[in-house]
């Protein structure tokens, strides 16, 4: 559908033949994060996305994992639980729920390599210790989540709304800017912060799409922002002008907060 482009991406991204990002650009846009410095809730979420991409996990699995992760830290503190252990556990549980079946060994190896870049693979003993921790944390995580493991994600709504928008804008306008690609990028980026828990999936999807329209200065014909009859109010009852703008301001914060990450120099 679209490549998974992490934070800070823009639309000038070039793709090679099979649609993957070129290595250089990826590195330039996403310098390696030093997770060992300043572990924060944000860094842990970024860790989930980096591991998820390296594990070639489904977008929905990563979003589900990030949702678990933010829910967990609504109740627990970073002082008590290591965000990266919880992050790996979230990926593991999400992969079981979303039927993607990622091997626990891969999750651990990829995770360790993100935190300690270029380190050798773990020897057996530390590996088994981490594995036991993940399995223990999985039980804890399920209880914290109250065994409600199915997450209603905004992704499917976004795809629907993009379809509607395409009809409203007309083929030509729609094709003139990469709406779909950028919206798909933003929807993955918003999982860096707990705003995904605060708003309904419909509202998130509509706000992301309106945000992208704003970036490219696209106006939907017939939309009347002054009189609060914006195009998105027809999508879902949650999508009011006020709420959409509130979410958009939160999306800005997601990108601002990225500065807290320390990169490897």
């Amino acid at each position: 559908m679209s490549v998974l482009i992490p934070l800070g991406s823009d639309t000038r991204i070039s793709k090679n033949g099979d649609g993957a990002l070129t290595e250089n650009l990826l590195e330039e846009k996403n310098p390696a994060i030093d997770y060992s410095k300043c572990p924060s809730q944000y860094a842990g979420a970024r860790y989930i996305m980096e591991c998820g991409m390296k594990l070639e996990a489904n977008v929905l699995t990563i979003a589900t994992a990030a949702t678990y992760y933010h829910k967990f830290f609504q109740y627990a503190t970073l002082r008590e639980y290591d965000p990266y252990l919880i992050g790996s556990t979230c990926i593991y549980l999400a992969s079981k729920v979303e039927d993607s079946d990622i091997k626990i060994r891969d999750i651990i190896n990829v995770g360790v390599n993100c935190v300690k870049r270029n380190s050798l693979p773990l020897s057996l003993e530390p590996y088994f210790t981490i594995r036991d921790s993940v399995i223990h944390a999985e039980l804890l995580l399920m209880r914290v989540l109250g065994f409600k493991l199915k997450v209603d994600l905004p992704h499917k709504y976004l795809l629907h709304y993009i379809q509607s928008l395409k009809d409203w804008l007309g083929e030509e306008t729609f094709k003139s800017v990469p709406i779909t690609e950028v919206a798909w990028t933003v929807i993955q980026d918003v999982y860096h912060t707990p705003i995904v828990l605060k708003y309904s999936p419909q509202l998130l999807a509509a706000s992301i799409l309106h945000f992208v329209n704003q970036i490219y200065g696209i106006t939907v014909p017939g939309s009347d922002d002054v009189n609060e009859r914006s195009w998105f109010i027809f999508l879902h009852k949650d999508c009011t002008a006020k709420s959409v703008w509130e979410v958009i301001s939160k999306i800005f914060e997601v990108y601002k907060e990225e500065e807290c990450l320390e990169t490897i120099k």
Partner: protein, 434 residues
């Protein structure tokens, strides 16, 4: 979470086994480990306290009316104001009553052993009711099994009269126990006990309930994927409930491929047998047809031992598929591999004459279509004339209402009345022709 405590729940000296994180209990919302759980409670008395009754508690905690709250717990309760309970205080109250604790349940006999769980009959000390305890072994290698995780997460969302109720989840270091309502037997045992055939009235009542539960699942994009008489539980009243959602999963995006090995062979649709990995709610409908036939005739429809044998039985009965009955079949690689003869099919009426009544055959043939997308949906099947004799009220039931809340609807006695039962069935069928 930060709202003021409205209820003095904690007496002195309540010891929590797992103070940080309570079990899930029956809470509707995801609730979590909260520091508040053990923090001292500041009680703000708003009005004169009064003793509260068991009914108050059951109402406040949305517990079933038949739940007997321990006296010790009751005595500790005082109520200072009405109004909703905060999530964490409700959770803690539940834990204090005994939800989420193994000592609340007494294990009785072992009922069976599945691939990932052992099922015991048990009794809840809270209600004195029987429960089914599904004890899931936690493996050290992989953690909680996928099937268990899927079953739990799905059942949390499915609340329907024809779907087995998950009462509680008990979590210890070594195992995860799902506490279900207890039902006496499954449809297979029920049919075995009948010896010959079920009365047509009962066939309709069971089939209708099966379709009701399934329509509810399908509406929520949940497939069962493993329908068989052993997974349909029946209680003494005749209420039928879908169980064993281990193989079911929420179907989110239809483009996904699913694993090939899911449905027990006898009830497995031919498209899945021939390697189709992309299926939708219609994969459950073939199995419904097989179960309908089995209830009416008393014999399984396609008791195949292997995939080839299963396909052979299907083709011999329904006719070998052609491009007109199954578009695309001639290019199916799996199909080409098997040396099937060209059968024209047999009459299902000869095999089960009772299908002639109330257009039963018409309904059955809509389940047993080769082309998956043409199969009748559960919601449409409920409106089929076959169910006309059940009356009109069955269509106005709310999700959680039992079919037996409809006036005049009753199960016919199937057991130990083989001779008279036949007579009864005959009279009833005749009367329905009027």
């Amino acid at each position: 979470m930060k709202e003021r405590r409205k209820m003095n729940r904690l007496g002195q000296g309540v010891v929590h086994e797992v103070p940080r994180i309570g079990s899930d209990g029956e809470s509707e919302e995801a609730s979590g480990a909260s520091d508040e759980v053990t923090s001292p409670v500041n009680v703000k008395l708003r009005q004169k306290n009064r003793r509260i009754t068991q009914e108050d508690i059951n109402k406040r905690l949305s517990l079933p009316a038949d739940l007997r709250v321990p006296d010790a717990f009751l005595q500790k309760q005082t109520i200072s104001s009405e109004g909703p309970l905060s999530r964490s205080s409700r959770r803690q109250s539940l834990s204090e009553i005994g939800f989420g604790r193994m000592e609340t349940y007494t294990k009785l006999d072992k009922l069976g052993e599945g691939t990932y769980a052992t099922v015991y009959k048990g009794r809840s000390r809270l209600t004195e009711n029987l429960v089914a305890l599904k004890e899931i072994r936690l493996e050290h290698e992989e953690g909680a099994p996928c099937t268990a995780i899927r079953e739990v997460s799905l059942l949390k969302e499915l609340k329907h009269a024809n779907i087995v109720t998950l009462h509680d989840i008990v979590h210890t270091d070594k195992s995860l126990t799902l506490v279900f309502e207890y039902l006496d037997r499954d449809l297979k045992q029920y049919m075995d006990e009948c010896g010959a055939q079920l009365s047509m009235n009962n066939v309709k009542i069971f089939l209708f309930q099966l379709l009701r539960g399934l329509a509810y699942c399908h509406q929520r994009r949940v497939l069962h994927r493993d329908l068989k008489p052993q997974n349909l539980l029946i209680n003494e009243k005749g209420e039928l409930k879908l169980a064993d959602f281990g193989l079911a999963r929420a179907k989110s995006v239809p483009t996904k491929t699913y694993s090939n090995e899911v449905v027990t062979l006898w009830y497995r649709p031919p498209d899945v047998l021939l390697g189709s990995t992309e299926y939708s709610t219609q994969i459950d409908m073939w199995g419904v047809g097989c179960i309908m036939y089995e209830m009416i005739s008393g014999r399984p429809l396609f008791p195949g031992a292997t995939v080839e044998d299963e396909l052979h039985l299907i083709f011999r009965t329904l006719g070998t598929p052609t491009e007109s009955t199954w578009p695309g079949i001639s290019t199916n690689e799996d199909f080409a591999q098997y040396p099937f003869s060209t059968y024209t099919g047999e009459s299902l009426l000869t095999k089960a004459p009772r299908l002639a009544h109330d257009s039963g055959l018409g309904l059955l043939s809509k389940f047993l279509l080769y082309e998956a997308k043409k199969r009748i949906s559960a919601a449409t099947a409920l409106k089929h004339p076959f169910f006309e004799s059940l009356g009109h009220t069955v269509h106005t039931l709310k999700d959680q209402d039992s079919i037996f809340s409809c006036p005049g609807l009753m199960l016919t006695r199937d057991h130990n009345h083989k001779v008279t039962n036949g007579g009864q069935a005959k009279t009833r069928r005749q009367s329905m022709h009027f």
